[in-house]
Amino acid sequence: MTYAIQLQGIDKRFGAVHANNKVDLAVETGSIHGIVGENGAGKSTLMSILYGFYQADSGTISVFGNAYRFTDSQQAINAGIGMVHQHFMLVDNFTVLENVVLGAEGGYALAAGMDAARRELKRLANEYGLHVDLDATIDSLSVGLQQRVEILKALYKGAKILILDEPTGVLTPQETDELFKIFAALKQQGVTIILITHKLREIMAITDQVSVMRQGTMVAHVNTDATDESQLAELMVGRKVLLDVSKQPGKPGESLLKVKQLNWSDQHGVARLKNINFDIKAGEILGVAGVSGNGQSELLDVLTGISRLQQGSIEVLGKEFTAKQPFDAATMRTMGMAHVPEDRHKMGMITDFSAAESAIMGYQQDSELNAGVWLKPELVRQRCSELMVAFDVRPKDVQLKSANFSGGNQQKLILAREMERSPDVLIIGQPTRGVDVGAIEFIHQRILAMRDAGKAVLLVSVELEEILSLSDRIVVLCDGEITGRMAVEDADERKLGMLMANVQESHDPLQAQMQEAVQ
C-alpha cells in the first residue's frame, strides 16, 4: 500500500493553545480521506502545516514517500499538494484566469503565460468537468463556482493531493452534489483527496477512510465502512466524566420567550437559520444541541439584538419584535433579557478593561451606577466586588485587568454580571467552554438556580453532557434547522448524535444520491 501523505508526531502551539498534539496521519494514494472534528479541534491547523502555511514545532511530513520540511506554501505546491481553504484565497476583482495563474505566471510578461494557461485550463475543465468562464471576475461568480476556481488553481499547479477545508459549508445541496461528482472524477484520475468537515453525513457518503480529531489530538482512524455516524459523533465530542447535577423536576409556567419562523442569512446571502420556532417557559431550560457551526452563534446574535432580525418574530415577555421594529442589545436588556455570550474574549468582556469595568459592560447606563452621566467609580467597584463574592471570582481584585484572570474566573464574572440582576430571560452560549472542572459544577448549579427561580433559560452548548444534565427540553440544530425536539427524559447521546448529523431513518435520499455520485 502506498501513502500519499504520512504525518508523524506533528506538534504545534499558538501561544497558550496547543493546536496540534503529536498528531499522526496516513492517507492512502488515490483515496478520499475524511478528517472530522469540532471547530477548534485542530484540523485546519494540521492541514495548514501540511500545506507549508505554518511550520510545525516538531514532527515529520512525507509526501509520496519523500520526507519534506516545508517552510512556505510554494514548496508544498511543488511537492504536489493543493489546498482549497474554507475562506477562499481568491482575489475578488480578478478574473478566473488571473486567479489561477497567480504564482505560476510563466514569465515576466503576462501575455504568453496567460495563453498557455488558458489552453491548459480548458483541458482540465474537460477532463474533470470543472467548467467555468475563465474571463469572469470572481465577485460575479456563485460560491460554488468560486470553489471550482480554487480546485482548478490547485490542479493547474500540478496538485496530486487535494486538501479541502469545510468545502460544503457554503454550498447549496445542489452545489454539494456537483462537488461530489467532481470528487468522483478526480478520484478516478488518481488524485488523492483529503476532506476536512464536521458534517458526518458527507463523511459517510463519500470517504474511504476517516480520522477523528478532538482538542488537538487524533483520537481515531477508521475505515468508513466499519463505522457509523453516531460512533463518529461520540468520538468527536468525546465522553466526559458524567457530571453529577442534582436537579428537581421543573415547574414550567407561562412562555416568556417565543421565536416564530425565524430566518436569517449572512452577508453572502447564505441561509444560516431556517424556520426556527420554539418557546421557553418560565422555570424551564431549553437546551440547543448541535455540532458547532450549525447556526448556534447566529441564533444567539439575532435573539439578543446583536445581528439584525430579518424574518420572523421574537416575543419577549409579551412584547413582539419583527424585522420592522429593529432592536439592539440595549433594548433587549431593558426588556429583561440577559446574555452570556459564547466567546468571552471577543464579546463578553474587554480584556484591556479592569475587572470592575468589564463587570458593568452592557449596564453602563444603569441608574444605580450613575449620578447623571457620572459613572461613579466606587459604585462600579462595589458592584464588581459584590459580583465577585456572589460567584466566588478569584482573585478578588476589582482593579486587575480582565485579561489577567483565568478563563474560569472570567466566565464566572460574566455569568455573575448577567445573572445577579435576575433577568426574566437568560440566553447562555457555551457556559463552560475552556473552564476548569471545579468551576463547571459551580456554573451548572447557578444555571439551575435561575431555572428554579422561575426564569426562562436558553442554553446553547456543544457539550452533550451539559445539555443532557441541565435541560428540561432539547432542540437539535443542524445546518441552521431544528432537526429534532424532545423532552430530556426521552433523550440520550446516541439519539442526539443522529439528529445532530440529521439522519433520522436508514433510508436517506440525499445520502443515496451522494453515494451514487461517487460510484
Partner: protein, 326 residues
Amino acid sequence: MDFSDLWLTFLLTLDATLRLATPLVLAAMAGLFSERSGVVDIGLEGKMLAACFTSASVAYVTGSPWLAMFAAIGVSMVFALIHGFATITHKGDQIVSGVALNILASGLTIILGLSWFRQGGQTPSLTQEGRFLSIELPGADLLANVPVLGPLYKELLSGHNILVYLAFALVPVVWWVLYRTRFGLRLRAVGENPKAVDTAGISVNGLRYRAVLIGGVLCGIAGSYIAIAHNAAFTRDMTAGAGYIALAALIFGKWRPIGVLFACLLFGFLQSFAMRIEGVPVPGIGAIPVQLIEAVPYILTVVLLAGFIGKAIPPKAIGKPYVKER
C-alpha cells in the same frame, strides 16, 4: 481680445497645467504602487520634500542635475525603507508612520540646510547648468506662425524640461507594468488579498517592500522636478501640500493609472486657472475668489469619498499589516 489671443491664453493655461501636474503625476504614481500593494502612503509629501532638498543641495555642490536627481532618489528611497521597516516588518500603523516621515522631512530639511548653507534653511540659487532646462522640440519656432496648430506645438507641447516628458511617458509604462506583467498582477493581488498571494507561495512582504521602494524612486524624481526644474533652489516646505493633492488624485482616479493621470491634470488645471483669473473679474459674476477654485480638489475628494459621485473603492487590504492569523 481676438481669437488668436484667446487661443494663446488658453494654451498658456494648459501649458501651466502640464507644469503643475507633473509633480502630481509622479507622486500619484508613487502612491499608486504603494497603495495598490496595500500600504497607505501619506508620506508622499515628506519623501518629495526630502528629495527637493537633496536635489537642490547636490545640484548646487556638483552642478549636475542628473547627479542631483539620483541623490534625491536615494534619499527618498531611504524614507520609503523606513516606512517599510515600520509598517511591513514591524506591522506599525501606516498612517502614523507616514505622518512621522512628513514631519521629519519638514524639520530635517531646514536643520540640515541651515547647517550646510547658512541661508535661513534655503539652499543657494542654482545657475542654469545645475537645473533641468526646457527643451525646444525641433521646429517649434519654424511652426510658430502656423495658425492654431503652430502655437499649440510651440507653447503647449514644446519647451518643457525632460522631467515633464518623463512624467507623462511614465503613465503608460505604469499601466503596462500594472496590468501586463507578472509583477503587476502580484502587486494588485497583494493589495486585495495578501493571503491569496501568501498561499500561492509568494512573499507578501517582499512584494510590498518593492512597491514602497518604487514609490520612493518616483517621489525622488517628483521632488527633483519641484526643486531643480520648476524652481532653482530649495525653500521651506516648498512641496506645499502637493503630496496630499497627489493622494487626493490617487483616490479621485480610483487607484488606476489613466484615471489618476486625468485627476492630476484636472487638479493641475484648477491651480493654473486659479492663478490666471486671480483678480480678473468674470462678466456677470465679478471676481471669483481664487481660494474657491483652489479648494475644488479637496471638496471633490471628500464628496467622492462620501460616495455621492460614484464610489472610490480602495484596494481591499489597504492599511492592514499582513499577519498570518490562525
